[in-house]
Amino acid sequence: MLTAEVRQVKNPGSLIAAPSVKTMFLVFSLIGVVTFMVGLFLDPKRMWFSFLHNHFYFLTLALGGLFFAALQWLTQAMWSAPVRRISEALTSFLPISLITFLILLFGIHYLYPWSYKGDIVLAGKSGYLNISFFVLRNLLAIGLWVFFAIKMIGNSLKQDKDSSLAWTNKNRVLSPIFIILFAITYTMVSFDQLMSLDPHWFSTIFGVYCFAGLFYSNLALTCVLTILLKRQGYLEGIVNKNHLHDLGKFMFAFIVFWAYIAFCQFMLIWYANLPEETSYFLNRMHGGWIYVSLFLLIGKFIIPFFILLPRGAKRNEKLLFNIGIYMLVAQWIDFYWIIQPQYAPDGPVFGLIEIGILLGFLGIFGLVVQKFLSTHNLVAIGDPRLVEAVTHHYQ
């Protein structure tokens, strides 16, 4: 319609969660807890690697939600107003990842070689890579994210009640501060929690690589959740094909961005061929890991690139949903590829422990996000740009 005169957007209210889904997430969480306990006795090292993997994966999903929302306030974006609340919902997991980090500290001696062995190289790095500083700075970083999440998402939720522009203005002040701190702290956390698994190895682009993955999976999840809610009829008259098209374009862009950054990291190390740098890729180009590496090249970049390339694909709800799920899996495999070769250098190990821990995190993540969505409005109904966003697309 060319002249859709919408003066007010109908509030879709909050999610009425299906009890069966809730039960499913509860069962998943229980499976996770049981796997954690059993794994601790049977194979603690493998369990901790899987725990770190899923801790970091779900941390990035939650943090990505905050980053996406902050980006919208920072750029004063209008198009995203109908979907912003969905990415805000993901941040409800951030406090949980603070807890999972604290749990992770019990496994520090299984995970990080710098914590239990010393050599000349590690002695030189001990000023940075020591347990107390590691714990302190990581807690500080995650705490900072939780603080910004409470502040900014809180402002957004308060806006639902009074539709005051003041909340948007507050977030416009907070979001650039957050984005700058995010860039520094996320780089640090990815160096600490992932890169220091192999403490002799270093790559300055590693933080950007992890950021590319963060946004890659966050956009996919935002898109998947939007479509899920749309299918249940919650977003009727709010989110249409054009908004999905915008999300699809964003996803496509960050598929390319991830590939660009991943190749930057690979090519420079391959070209320079310095022994202390090549070990990382050498480990991942032999044994079973070569197949995972190839999957990342083909499955994480080339396939979704060509699928999402045509305009029609980005406007196809079903396809977008499926590719979103696929991208989430691809990102999970990417972190698997980063983390697990330190535990199993000969080839990927995948079994009940990995599945159980993944289900556990998935269950808890699902529970908190579902809780958030069923206690708050599904759309930032007080956002001053919502009406414009709903109507700005013709058709």
């Binding site: 002249t3 090519m267 013709y394």
Partner: protein, 188 residues
């Protein structure tokens, strides 16, 4: 200025001038719905939604870009492979002759280059540019006003001309004029 009553010049159409883009979009939509086939809108800047209102089909340009981009990627690889592995095989740092990771930045650049150049070329071809036959009938449409021109093909009879003018007025044109073909050159 347009010479309105010049009999020696050929009539090319009737133009309605609008003050703001929304009015133009509405008028364009009504024009299409009314059944006019040959019309064109003129705006000083791209107006979102006008292509929908005018009922324009999707441009074929993306396909050209895709084919040439892909060709650029493949050609860049083949050329580098030929130069560094076949024609003048050179050992660089003990790496294999076919060191494909080193080729990728150039493959990427040539993809962009051919994709970009072919897009511009396709744009010129599909838009029929450069067009030396038509000239701006009013300089204000490059500045702050919006025009909708209903072309001569629609109005073969004198009776139609009057009706078309009335139609343009009815859809909200602030000003309605006849436009005559002119030669190449400026007249302010």
């Amino acid at each position: 200025m347009i010479q309105n009553n010049s009999n020696h010049k050929k009539l090319s159409g009737v133009v309605g001038i609008f003050d703001e883009p929304h009015a133009l979009i509405m008028a364009t939509k009504k024009t299409r719905e009314f059944g006019f086939k040959y019309f064109d809108a003129f705006t000083p800047y791209p107006v979102h939604g006008l292509e929908v209102a005018a009922g324009l089909k999707r441009s074929p340009i993306p396909y050209v870009t895709f084919v040439f981009g892909l060709a650029g990627c493949v050609l860049a690889f083949l050329y580098q492979y030929w130069t560094s592995a076949i024609d003048w095989a050179l050992n660089v740092g003990g790496k294999p002759y076919n060191s494909w990771p080193a080729f990728v930045p150039i493959m990427f650049e040539v993809t962009i280059l051919l994709g970009g150049l072919s897009t511009v070329a396709a744009l010129f071809i599909f838009c029929g540019l450069p067009n030396l036959k038509k000239k701006a009938f009013d300089l204000s449409i490059t500045r702050d006003r919006f025009a909708l021109m209903i072309e001569i093909q629609n109005l073969d009879e004198k009776d139609n001309l009057k009706k078309t003018k009335e139609f343009l007025q009815s859809v909200g044109a602030k000003e309605v004029r006849e436009v005559y073909e002119e030669g190449w050159g400026f007249s302010l």
